[in-house]
């Protein structure tokens, strides 16, 4: 009898682990309860305007904003698929060099894209539209779509659209980085007309960004478990012994929380983790090139299209020319990670098992130097980390727009 009781108590003890004070501090940091409202974006004066978000939502899924009339942001960032597309690299009008990223966590990050080459959500939104592999569109075409179908909503937010009737002044398809014809058409425009179009293009991005800022991160079973750890009344979720062991590895021996920390399990930094280069893709320098592009971007926080009166400190004090930036990529949020394979900046790994195996081996980086050291995890430990990562699955959304 006594022995049975002791065994039962031992089982309870095994199921309810004790966390040290330091562990609890780390765990509290990972909890969704620690997630604050998105930081303000002074460079976008409609960032938190509900009407702008409505316009942005419509634009986000408008396939009319593409060269073939078939691609919208939502083609790759599929709301039903954690805003990703299950492909190794994004596929729009053509196929790109990088993997589609989830949208909801991006609002918390000072830098957008795997290499952080945009310093705001609105500047980011301008990239895919003129990317020949994505929307394959041009900014004068964007202005015409806005004028034809969204002029009321647009003008209420941003004031009058320019009169685009004169096709000599405003060619149908003109973009500074587009195909040779679009480029020539852009270069033929006057400086003043280019600025008029750029302003409309920036406003398009600002409306899309306002929508993206409304997307919510949904809690996971891990959060429900932590709620219990932090004293929420029963019932709260339990984690299996494997999941708990995986969590302990994640914040301990695995050192995952060095980079994957905070309520999104990302420090919003960039790191070279020695992910193999995709054999069929051109050389990719990651953050080393991305930060230079952000500084040079006319749509950055310090540019004339920004609404920020001053500040722009992330850009002003950005780390540039640091050898550690070669092949460093954005530390992704791990929320919902089990629901959106494949992984890494070019979809190099197709499963979480492959990801954890990579961390265990920590191979040399193809370029630059990897920041991670081999963990030499046992098969059990690798399985446990994967089990833990799956507790980060987002709970189903209450509605399609969650």
């Amino acid at each position: 009898m006594g022995a049975t009781l002791a065994t039962a108590l031992a089982l309870v003890a095994a199921a309810e682990p004790t966390w040290s004070a330091a562990d609890l501090k780390t765990l509290r940091g990972l909890w969704i309860g620690a997630l604050k409202p998105p930081p303000p974006d002074p460079s976008n004066k409609v960032a938190d305007n509900a009407k702008a978000a409505d316009l942005g939502r419509a634009l986000f899924s408008d396939t009319g904003l593409s060269a073939n009339g078939q691609v919208s942001c939502a083609s790759c960032h599929q709301p039903g698929h954690a805003f990703t597309d299950a492909l190794p690299t994004g596929h729009g009008v053509g196929t790109g060099n990088r993997r589609t990223m989830p949208i909801a966590p991006a609002v918390y990050s000072p830098w957008q894209f795997w290499d952080g080459r945009a310093d705001s959500l609105w500047a980011q939104a301008l990239g895919p539209v003129e990317n020949p592999a994505e929307h394959g569109f041009s900014r004068t075409e964007v202005a015409r779509v806005l004028a034809a179908r969204y002029s009321d909503a647009y003008e209420r937010l941003f004031g009058p659209l320019p009169d685009l009737a004169d096709r000599n002044r405003f060619p149908l398809r003109a973009a500074p980085g587009g195909d040779p014809a679009a480029k020539a058409a852009w270069e033929g425009m006057s400086d003043a007309d280019q600025i008029l179009i750029n302003r409309v293009y920036a406003n398009f991005g600002k409306a899309v960004a306002a929508y993206e800022r409304t997307l919510k991160i949904r809690p996971s079973r891990f959060d429900a478990y932590l709620a219990g750890v932090f004293g929420a009344p029963d019932p709260h979720a339990r984690l299996s012994p494997d999941e708990l062991a995986g969590l302990r590895l994640f914040i301990g021996k695995g050192q995952c929380a060095n980079c994957h920390n905070g309520p999104l399990l990302s420090n919003h930094g960039f790191a070279n983790t020695g992910v193999p280069a995709h054999p069929d893709l051109p050389r990719d320098l990651g953050r080393a090139a991305g930060v230079r592009a952000a500084v040079a971007d006319p749509f950055n926080c310090k540019g004339v299209y920004s609404d920020a009166p001053a500040g722009c400190e992330e850009l002003e004090f950005a780390v540039i020319d640091n050898p550690g930036q070669v092949r460093a990529y954005k530390v992704p949020s791990l929320r919902g990670v089990g629901q959106r394979a494949p992984y890494m900046h070019a979809g190099q790994f197709s499963s979480l098992e492959q990801v954890v195996d990579h961390y265990s081996r920590a191979p040399r980086a193809p370029d630059g130097a990897s920041e991670i050291k081999p963990l030499r995890l046992s098969a059990d430990e690798r399985r446990q980390i994967v089990a833990f990562l799956r507790t980060l699955d987002e709970q189903p959304a209450p509605s399609p727009h969650g």
Partner: protein, 151 residues
């Protein structure tokens, strides 16, 4: 070889400051350093070789997380006289996680003697951070100092 030299100098700095030996390789790659138990977290201290006394202070209290914010530096010499016109270079990071600062802060002279403003400071997470100041006074005197902060 320069890598080796850098490691040695840092380890020396740590020995002097924290009273802890063998904290080499910090931020220079390699094994992450564990936080010494008797970490000196004073923000008002003599520099490594005692050439200056340096006081630093966040202009936002408590020190904010994930937000760029300014700090001030007050620099005096051994006699306690303010040192103006010095060039101060800043780096740092998290020794336990061997990564550097998330931003590249810069120091500039302020209006009052011995005072400087550091703009662009940011800490992206809680834990042990170090801030290294390399100081070059206009008369050629130089020294370094490493401050520790636990956020």
């Amino acid at each position: 070889m320069p890598q080796f030299a850098r490691i040695n100098r840092r380890s020396l700095a740590y020995r002097v400051l924290g009273g802890v030996a063998l904290l080499a390789v910090v931020l220079a790659g390699g094994v992450a350093a564990a936080k010494p138990r008797d970490l000196n977290i004073s923000l008002d201290r003599p520099s490594d070789r005692g050439v200056f006394r340096v006081r630093i202070q966040s202009q936002v209290a408590p020190i904010p997380l994930s937000r760029v914010h300014p700090w001030t530096v007050h620099l005096t010499d051994q006699a306690g006289l303010p040192v103006s016109g010095a060039v101060i270079a800043i780096d740092g990071g998290m020794p336990e996680h061997h990564h550097g600062l998330p931003t590249a802060p810069r120091a500039a002279s302020a209006a009052t003697p011995g005072d400087y403003l550091i703009s662009g400071m940011k800490f992206s997470m809680t834990g042990w951070w170090v801030l290294n100041l390399s100081i070059k006074a206009p008369d050629g005197r130089t020294d370094r100092i490493t401050f520790n902060m636990v956020l």
